[in-house]
């Protein structure tokens, strides 16, 4: 088995995939705690559907670098969803549901009508569940992913104290003059970037799991915000690495394997928390 692994690791595209996968997993875990606690998970969910629709359009238009199209569209929708979410307290989140499910339906429709590929359902499946797309990244995409990941981590570190303040108590922040709306906007935009990145790794249906599972696992064991944040980053990276290696050796779908490892990790953490 080690031999198989070594053989695979000698391919540069496999090494790229591992590096990008680890970076993406690191990013996606950082905002998990905030998204869970701020009841912002609806944005994550809605955005992953929007990203699917955008990806479908990119495929139909046969864009060479789909990231350059999908990213701005998703970021824009993040801003719109945040606005809608504020009003949604009165009207329910029907608008958000419509936008996200609508994007999904239109995307699928477009793919079926216009796709030149002979294997439409295969394409759809890989966009939804990730399958092998991480292994087919070009060198440019690898650099783009790596650059964006580093930017996300840096932004998170720089705004860590404000993100904590806004997550814990928006009203207090507003009362003492913190620019809460700007912080929320930053969180939404960074979430959009993370989702587009993570779509390469696990596909759009499984993104929420990648964002939320490590945070939930860490929250079982740790009691400080810093502890939870660091732990969920570590859990996410470890699970992604393990998941990718298993899927390379065992030939299982990457995204689903990573999520499965995350589920196992969650139950391990729950067990340890129970024993403590």
């Amino acid at each position: 088995m080690i031999a198989t692994l070594q053989q695979y690791l000698s391919f540069p595209f496999v090494r790229y995939a591992l590096i990008v996968g680890v970076l993406i997993a690191l990013c996606s875990s950082l905002l998990g705690v905030t998204l869970v606690l701020k009841r912002f998970s609806f944005i994550g969910d809605g955005l992953s559907h929007v990203a699917f629709g955008a990806m479908a359009i990119a495929a139909v238009l046969r864009l060479s670098n789909s990231l350059l199209f999908v990213m701005p569209v998703t970021v824009l929708c993040a801003v719109l969803l945040l606005r809608a979410g504020k009003r949604a307290k009165l009207k329910g989140d029907a608008a958000i549901a419509m936008l996200s499910v609508g994007a999904m339906a239109v995307g699928y429709l477009l793919l079926n009508l216009f796709s030149t590929s002979t294997n439409v359902s295969g394409d759809v499946c890989s966009t939804l569940f990730g399958s092998t797309s991480i292994l087919t990244l070009t060198r440019a995409e690898v650099w783009l992913c790596a650059g964006l990941s580093v930017a996300v981590v840096a932004l998170f570190a720089l705004f860590y104290n404000r993100i904590f303040a806004v997550t814990f108590d928006e009203d207090f922040g507003r009362a003492v003059g913190t620019r809460v709306e700007a912080c929320n906007l930053l969180i939404a935009v960074v979430t959009a970037v993370i989702i587009v990145l993570a779509m390469n790794l696990v596909g759009s249906l499984l993104i929420s799991a990648l964002i939320i599972f490590p945070a939930l696992s860490a929250m079982r064991l740790f009691r400080s915000f810093l502890g939870v944040t660091l732990c969920s980053a570590a859990v996410s990276v470890a699970c992604a690495l393990a998941g990718m290696l298993v899927s390379i050796v065992g030939g299982t779908p990457v995204g689903a394997t990573i999520v499965a490892v995350n589920i196992v990790a969650y139950f391990l953490f729950a067990l340890v928390a129970r024993l403590k």
């Binding site: 606690l37 104290n161 009362a175 003492v176 400080s224």
Partner: protein
């Protein structure tokens, strides 16, 4: 000039007024208690003073060298905080957020200030504890310590003693009184306990359907409105003890 001057305020939600024609002022060193029944608009008034929502009519002016955001706030607790993974230290330090300016991280001075606030509230030994595992009284102290990091001048407290047992309530009142009398912090506090309000506060603002009162605590005790409510409070207490 007063620290806060509210003139002819009308407050409400979506065009529906719940409080009209409210005028009062708070001077440096005052201890103002806002009393009134449930739903009379006390929290709404405080949120308006904090700039969290706009008044329908009227104005709020900050004076005496107080910048608008130079205040500390203790909110009625929200649901999110109940399962929040954060230590006492992290929360108290976040009271320094207005001192961050354009810097990303807290300085040594900010940490020292948070340290001092912890000690003033007598919760230094709890610093590593998780907020959600503390008792209600301890949680209120943590939030008060956070508010103290944000200001040395003006504290706005929304029901700081709700849900606390009588002994802890008395301790909390003592703490707040000490901040006001000894450290010269101006206090605006919402309370349901009319009797305690009349005992500790220098000024009372009574709002609600049965009339509005603003004046010193002594004048409130003499006023017909105050006498009626104080008698009610005594009656309730007597009934509970019997």
């Amino acid at each position: 000039m007063s620290l806060i001057t509210c003139q002819d305020l009308t407050l409400g939600y979506e065009g529906e007024a719940i409080l009209e024609g409210l005028s009062f002022s708070v001077n440096a060193g005052d201890y103002l208690c806002i009393v009134g029944e449930n739903g009379s608009g006390k929290s709404t008034l405080m949120r308006t003073m904090l700039g969290l929502q706009k008044p329908m009519r009227g104005s709020i002016a900050f004076g005496d060298g107080l910048r608008e955001k130079e205040l500390g706030y203790l909110p009625q607790q929200t649901a999110v905080q109940r399962d929040f993974p954060a230590t006492v230290w992290e929360i108290v330090l976040s009271g320094c957020q207005s001192r961050l300016g354009r810097r990303p991280f807290y300085t040594r001075a900010d940490r020292a200030l948070a340290e001092r606030s912890l000690e003033r509230m007598g919760i230094a030994p709890l610093r590593r504890r998780c907020y959600r595992e503390l008792s209600g009284g301890q949680q209120q102290r943590v939030l008060l310590a956070r508010a103290l990091c944000a200001t040395q001048k003006l504290l706005l407290l929304d029901e700081p003693v709700s849900g606390l047992d009588p002994r802890v309530t008395a301790e909390m009142y003592e703490l707040i009184e000490r901040l006001n009398r000894r450290d010269g912090v101006t206090v605006v506090m919402i309370s349901h306990d009319v009797a305690a309000a009349a005992r500790y506060a220098t000024h009372i603002l009574h709002i609600g359907g049965k009339g509005t009162f603003f004046g010193t605590a002594d004048a409130y005790r003499e006023s017909p409105l105050g006498q009626r409510f104080l008698a009610d409070a005594d009656g309730a207490k007597g009934g509970a003890e019997a």
